[in-house]
């Protein structure tokens, strides 16, 4: 490819407009609600996209109390170097998938520009797509009534892989992704992990310089996810540039050479995982395990002096317990106040430890909330 940057994103913005409900829907809503004034069917593009779009309001509808447009991606700018794994990390609805969809030319940006392998995503969409292998989230992206090999045969033609080399390329990919034995079985009989591997094999058919992987390990069991992460690392070692979206902190930490943390459509931090964690090295993470879901004390914990962020998750130890993580500038000073508050609320502390900050803590420190919120 010869370019220093595989992807260049400059002030990229994407706004979704809520579609006004049609007259029939308005009439139906009016009759059903009996109000007649604040009807909002919410069907169409905006409603569909809003889950991804995030809550940035860009105006208010005249007679409805919800915004008429949503900023899904809000003027983001960054470059992705050739040959690196770049993680786009953020909660659901942060704007990750919208960014990927703009880069693979399924969506046009509202403003700003981006170049993939040197090609402009708006002016040269066909060349952009020829430089990309894209794996979008959702396992129903293959033809389930075709076999694995038939799927690859079909997409090889669409990716313009020369017929003379397509057969060998497909054999190589099936071998690489350990699908040779199942190549003649219908995809409907594949496991989720096998389908995901086949999707990545499809993206590699034309051996593109840049790969876009949207939540590649979502829905996979731990072993399959680990195998897939190995695959992604190998792809980087072979010289591919990988842009990967995920909402799994550990995955982003483990895989990415650099990470952009995205929230509400904005990039709020961008660096290597190590550097991001070093930024908050002076912070401590206090983890308290309690025996029930905390009821309304998280806000109070957040308002304690020196506390930078709080999150609460159900413990993954198989017991019905909950872990509160408190990110603080001084664990010694926070500890007393924290325990006093928990006791006052009648919470029973089962376990307590002070931990090194993780990437999750970086996110909490930057946004004041958990990635799961």
């Amino acid at each position: 490819m010869g370019l220093a940057n595989a992807i260049e994103i400059d002030d990229l913005k994407r706004t979704f407009t809520r579609r006004a409900p049609n007259a029939l829907a308005r009439l139906f809503t009016r009759r059903r609600t009996g109000t007649g004034t604040n009807a909002d069917g919410g069907s169409g593009a905006g409603a569909d996209s809003s889950a991804e779009a995030g809550p940035n309001a860009a105006g208010l509808a005249n007679n409805a109390k919800r915004p008429n447009s949503l900023v899904a991606v809000d003027s983001i700018s960054f470059d992705i170097r050739a040959g690196e794994i770049f993680g786009l990390l953020g909660p659901n609805g942060a704007g990750k998938t919208t960014t990927i969809k703009m880069l693979c030319t399924l969506l046009e940006p509202t403003s700003g520009t981006a170049r993939v392998a040197g090609f402009d995503i708006v002016r040269e969409p066909a060349r952009v797509r020829a430089s990309l292998g894209t794996v979008l989230s959702g396992e129903r992206s293959l033809y389930w009534k075709l076999t694995g090999r038939e799927n690859l045969d079909y997409f090889a033609a669409l990716y313009d892989v020369e017929p003379s080399t397509a057969h060998r390329r497909i054999d190589d990919l099936l071998t690489r992704f350990e699908l040779t034995d199942k190549a003649s079985e219908l995809v409907e009989r594949y496991s989720t992990g096998m389908r995901q591997r086949l999707s990545i094999a499809r993206a590699l058919l034309a051996n593109p310089p840049v790969l876009l992987l949207d939540e590649p390990t979502a829905g996979l069991d731990p072993q399959s996810a680990r195998n897939l992460r190995d695959v992604v690392r190998k792809l980087r070692d072979e010289g591919h540039t990988v842009l990967l979206t995920t909402h799994y902190m550990a995955e982003a930490d483990e895989l990415s050479d650099r990470i952009a943390i995205i929230d509400h459509g904005r990039v709020i931090a961008l660096d290597t995982p190590t550097a991001l964690k070093e930024h908050i090295q002076q912070l401590h993470s206090v983890e308290v395990e309690i025996d029930r879901a905390p009821d309304g004390i998280l806000d109070e914990l957040h308002s304690l002096p020196l506390v930078r962020g709080v999150e609460c998750v159900q413990s993954s130890n198989g017991h019905e317990t909950w872990t509160i993580r408190v990110l603080t500038e001084n664990s010694r000073q926070t500890l007393d106040a924290l325990l006093d508050l928990l006791r006052a609320e009648g919470e029973r502390v089962l376990n307590l430890r002070v931990a090194e900050p993780t990437l999750e803590d970086v996110f909490i420190a930057l946004t004041g909330k958990s990635l799961r919120d």
């Binding site: 075709l146 038939e150 079909y154």
Partner: protein
């Protein structure tokens, strides 16, 4: 320049070929559907056959002959059904294929490839037209045996005459695919439009019996002339206009509908990329 065009053309044919193969494989994996697609038209034709008999005197539909020049109502209707299956192929095969891909979740994986999006839609028409042809021939053959349908004209001339109409319908299908991209839940609209175009083209009756406003609509449809011309060649019916004029209208509409279908598809495809409608359903 010529070489680049040739390369581009070869690429489009390869894409269209791959789509046809894929669609055919999937078609074969639903064998019950393949059987039903032959049985169903016969099922619909049976009442028409008995209705035709009911209105006949000594086996001849005398009143009907006054309008069309033939007293063989059932052959007239069966040929109409045969032709109308191509209208269905355009509406459902191409137009609805977009909605089907959206529902299956395969629209986006297709559209992130470098293949031309127009070729991706056109590819869906090839196997549909081929299957429609095979299916219709089987139905006609069964009709000949079961209901004594008698086509006496030049079949090759009829096929050549109807080709511009088929190409025009492909253009229409492309336009419909564009609309479906935007409308998404378009099943009912497609069903109604398909029915209206089929009926107003005179699938089961001569359009000359229509009241004037509806006749005006019927005469604006190129398919009306296609039905009329083919019946004239195969059954010896009277044409509304001289045959050459009807062929001329079909050729003109072929160019017009292909251009319009392309423009409509591109406009809606752009609109969907701007509004973020692709892949949602």
């Amino acid at each position: 320049m010529v070489d680049r065009f040739r390369t581009w053309l070869r690429r489009q044919f390869r894409v269209i070929g791959a789509i046809s193969r894929k669609d055919f494989l999937i078609f074969l994996r639903y064998p019950a559907n393949a059987v039903m697609s032959v049985v169903e038209p016969i099922m619909w034709l049976v009442p028409t056959y008995f209705m035709g008999l009911g209105f006949s005197v000594n086996g001849e539909a005398v009143g009907f002959a006054g309008f069309t020049g033939t007293s063989d109502y059932f052959s007239f209707a069966m040929l109409g059904m045969f032709m109308s299956s191509y209208i269905s192929a355009a509406f459902w095969g191409m137009g609805f294929s977009v909605q089907e891909d959206m529902t299956l979740g395969v629209l986006e994986p297709n559209w992130v490839t470098p293949a031309s999006r127009v070729s991706l839609i056109l590819g869906r028409s090839v196997i549909m037209l081929l299957l429609t042809t095979i299916n219709s021939i089987v139905v006609l053959a069964m009709g000949a045996v079961l209901f004594r349908v008698n086509l006496t004209g030049n079949v090759l001339a009829a096929v050549i005459t109807v080709l511009p109409m088929l190409i025009a319908l492909t253009g229409l299908g492309l336009g419909i695919a564009g609309v479906v991209l935007s409308v998404r839940r378009a099943g009912t609209a497609i069903d109604i439009s398909n029915w209206a175009v089929t009926q107003l083209s005179g699938a089961t009756f001569p359009v000359s019996v229509l009241p004037r406003p509806l006749l005006a609509v019927a005469l604006a449809l190129p398919t009306t002339y296609g039905f009329d011309a083919v019946r004239s060649i195969l059954l010896g019916t009277k044409t509304m206009l001289p045959l050459k004029a009807e062929i001329g209208i079909m050729l003109a509409s072929m160019v017009g509908m292909c251009a319009a279908g392309y423009a409509v598809f591109k406009a809606f495809e752009r609109r969907c990329r701007r509004q973020g409608l692709l892949g949602t359903h």
